[in-house]
Symmetry: C2
Subunit: 551 residues, 2 copies
């Protein structure tokens, strides 16, 4: 029987995983990996930390080398080998050796495209000036390191306030630079709902990072001092000795599109649930493909290493005749910056609305990552989205200093398994004083949402607060109320509520707030049972200030 | 309509939760909580840390006080009030005021028993000598603190190597004492499988704690130096200035048993899935009741605060006419000691065998808590149990310095939702270099188990290693092999395997090992495809040394 010949274009996360999985399943297949760059299987996600010198040695970023692939897996890896065309009829690819300039052809039985995505780099005036960088490869990060070490820059502008932008901010501050982030959107971390992203902004400002949200770059020019000036559309002129563009990535689809393979509206290659393109001999995986969101059903670009790896595995299985599927994504993601963690899984309010969904609600809570009586706890700001009809968990976002990834991981596993908020109520999670609470934040989120669905606590719509004619009631203590409160709220402390019912209106809804929502919930229960029409301002003042950050 | 009168016996985790939930559901009910002790709603789980002075102020341990219950919830709390009898016919309890000695009766519509459990305290000779303590209440921990501060003890013996014993060991070492743990079983942390508990033992020994496993206390006597001598059954005589008994707790069931309520073989009160005893007006919750294990179906005693709280909630719901259920427990638990975490959820091999189960397998793995290329990672020692017929996840145990509770929490959520190992393979979990890996430990556990179930990798039975006539093969590099290996193993490094096939036997099974199991898996795939009969020694040398700790 003829040996199967599998060619893989791109040898980073998806391609490398696919190659080694193929070998494990088929000892006889001929497997060749082509990569345009000098390295394969490198730790893309580690590059900001190499720039920041948290990862000190470049070798650490190399997860595997061509000789390693050869020795361990009998996989041939050709670096500096650019695949320039696909001859679908002839089942062959054209390859250019970037060292010699020679072109040659290679036939395939199966072809896997794992070309990745390239940093977006708009044609702004001055974009080619020295000192302006993107970050995708080891050579990219080496260049930034060299620039830092040789030019001793003092001020940096990072264009883009997404995950990479915030990681770069942390690493450049670690390197001693003053950092400004310019972000076109009105929020940081665009995958998050805007009010949740406010917590990230607060942390960045506390870490002395300057933020320019809702402003975009207009161009770059040399400054009189020998550095750069970043001009913004709002008219600002920001001095910078170093600029990093971190405004997202765009799938590398030229090869696929030139070969007539279908691409989607989001600009990625379209594949079926076995990662196969319209051509039954060609698969595509990784950052270059569109994936279906499991919650919203929308096609998305989700450039994450974990997904690329899983897709590589699925593809290897399918090429070897196994019936493995890639169903879609929750797009679980995490980002760390300045001792803070932001993470999310599943849908956001934003993504649900964009998909035209309704019939969902959300609760906010701010529990500590571990028992309050044990020292060193930190609040976790958590938003949970759930379907009103049955309590199905749709998504979650969390930010805080500690325990954030853990709770989002639990919720990701819960969403994967179609958990409802009633399941979350009774999840049995680790509790000892330094690790959690007898009611874990995940339990609390489930309980709050279940309270809503059981009719024990109606939610007030935060976004309608300003237009509402509801009676606003703050049930905290006077010293808390006098410090700050929801604008227009009256104050009756929870402990006095039963004796001061006569002060409350029976002809209007009462929307109740406190510090984090707990006392307001108790107040809701008391007043509802006394016949008042009440709603709960979920998350209390800790949600109010991010919902109305100028308030 | 007459107000409902609910009496609650015991005001710590379960009782306090039940009381406040009742009030939220029924503003009119009359709710009275009785507690024998001077405090209610205190942080039981924090007591070892109060002894260790990690928690410095006793007030921190008081989660709520009687006036707080009154002000916020209109709940009457009577402390130092011992409930001495239940008159089921008359629907009343007898109460003794421990301050005045007066006895009185209180009628109830519903009665909730939340009496907790008492430390086991065998009638050993000398058990009443000064310096011997148990730890259940705030006064208990205050006594130990006072003893430490006034007597300046230098040596402590902790009897019992379970969760509380290890927490006490950490805290007493933190207080400057030399600590010996005497544990009757041949392992620490009895809920864990013995080989997994070895990692805990290693950490304790490295932290200068002396271990005496498989030995039991015979009695105590005063020492010539004014301290104590702990005599063991093996004949040892251990000097101690302080002894803490931490050999478990026993449900407080006298009240229930005297009232003729059913108790189970494990010594706890029997209740249905609404926490109701055989008497329809009496409920029982918390450490005093037996609960059904969701995996093994066995009745168990699981004295954990989170369960007590949940049972309190269920009971309040049921008393208020809601159809809420308590289905059973996974018994998820966590324990921290000396920078190490041990956690488990669901069944263990031990508990499955005790329940007569078979048809399950387990995989061992030792992944890092975060990407290897990012500094500061630590291994997580993980054991996953799954059902052979369909891959249902049955249980997991993990130990390590970091990321342990997170993975056990994810697995607890997965088990709750009846996940299979095939679901774990594709769970989408948080990955950034400092938080995890593109293939998270949970994914890896799923992949290994799925490899077994798909027939890609047969497991060698570790326990049969010594009796087996299999050919043992270590595929690590010679420098690793020469350092230590599975006894009797031959060495062929993975990279040379394909060229040295002729050295391997075709007439015997080959059991393959390496450092942590990864290379052995690759070797299995290579050899299986070349027609050899191979099995995988799951977890490699890192499992071998705990499986055969004397080896």
């Amino acid at each position: 029987m003829k040996k199967k010949r599998v060619l893989i274009v791109g040898g980073v996360a998806g391609g490398a995983t696919c190659a080694t999985r193929l070998r494990r399943l088929d000892e006889d297949a001929e497997i060749v990996v082509f990569d345009r760059g000098p390295y394969v299987s490198f730790a893309n996600c580690g590059l900001p930390y190499y720039v920041g010198n948290i990862i000190k040695q470049e070798e650490k970023l190399l997860l595997a080398t061509p000789p390693w692939f050869q020795d361990r897996f009998h996989i041939e890896v050709r670096t500096r080998a650019e695949v320039t065309a696909i001859d679908r009829q002839g089942c062959a690819i054209a390859v250019r050796d970037l060292e010699t300039g020679c072109e040659y052809h290679e036939p395939y039985d199966a072809l896997v495209l794992s070309p990745g995505a390239a940093p977006v780099c708009p044609p702004w005036p001055g974009i080619d000036l020295p000192g302006i960088f993107t970050l995708r490869t080891i050579p990219d990060s080496r260049q930034i390191r060299n620039w830092i070490e040789s030019k001793k820059p003092r001020q940096a502008v990072i264009v883009g306030g997404g995950f990479i932008g915030l990681e770069m901010a942390e690493n450049l501050v670690h390197r001693g630079l003053a950092v400004t982030i310019v972000e076109m959107a009105n929020q940081l971390l665009p995958p998050l709902d805007p009010e949740m992203a406010e917590y990230a902004g607060e942390r960045l400002i506390a870490s002395k990072v300057h933020l320019r949200l809702g402003d975009a770059v207009a161009g770059f020019e040399p400054s009189a001092e020998g550095g750069l000036l970043v001009r913004t559309q709002a008219g600002a002129s920001l001095p910078a000795d170093l600029v990093v563009l971190a405004i997202g990535v765009r799938p590398e689809i030229k090869l696929a599109r030139d070969a007539g393979l279908e691409t989607g509206a989001r600009g990625g290659i379209r594949v079926d649930d076995q990662m196969r393109t319209a051509d039954p001999r060609i698969w595509a995986i990784g950052d270059a493909v569109e994936v279906k969101n499991l919650i919203t059903g929308q096609w998305e670009l989700v450039p994450l290493a974990g997904l690329a790896n899983r897709q590589g595995r699925v593809t290897a299985d399918v090429i070897c005749g196994r019936d493995t599927r890639f169903d879609g994504v929750l797009a679980t993601a995490v980002c760390g910056f300045f001792g803070f963690t932001a993470a999310l899984t599943g849908a956001t309010e934003k993504s649900l609305r964009a998909a035209g969904a309704n019939g969902f609600q959300s609760v906010y809570l701010h529990p500590r990552d571990h028992a309050g009586y044990y020292p060193g706890g930190h609040p976790i700001h958590l938003k949970l989205l759930f379907r009103t009809s049955d309590g199905l968990v749709l998504g979650a976002q969390a930010l805080g200093e500690s325990g954030v990834a853990r709770r989002i991981d639990v919720l990701a596993a819960a969403i994967q398994m179609h958990s409802t908020v009633f399941d979350l109520e009774k999840s049995e999670l680790c509790y000892a004083p330094q690790y959690g609470a007898a009611k874990d934040p995940v339990n609390l989120a489930g309980m709050l949402a279940a309270n809503v669905l059981r009719g024990d606590m109606a939610l007030a719509p935060w976004r309608e607060l300003e237009a509402s004619d509801a009676f606003l009631l703050d049930v905290r203590e006077p010293w808390e109320y006098n410090r700050d409160t929801v604008e227009g709220a009256a104050n009756v402390p929870l402990g006095q509520l039963r004796s001061r019912l006569s002060e409350l209106p029976r002809d209007r809804e009462i929307w109740i707030t406190c510090e984090i929502g707990e006392r307001a919930y108790y107040a809701c229960r008391i007043l509802a049972q006394h016949g008042f029409r009440v709603r709960h301002l979920s998350g209390g003042y800790e949600t109010y200030w991010v919902m109305y950050p100028m308030g």
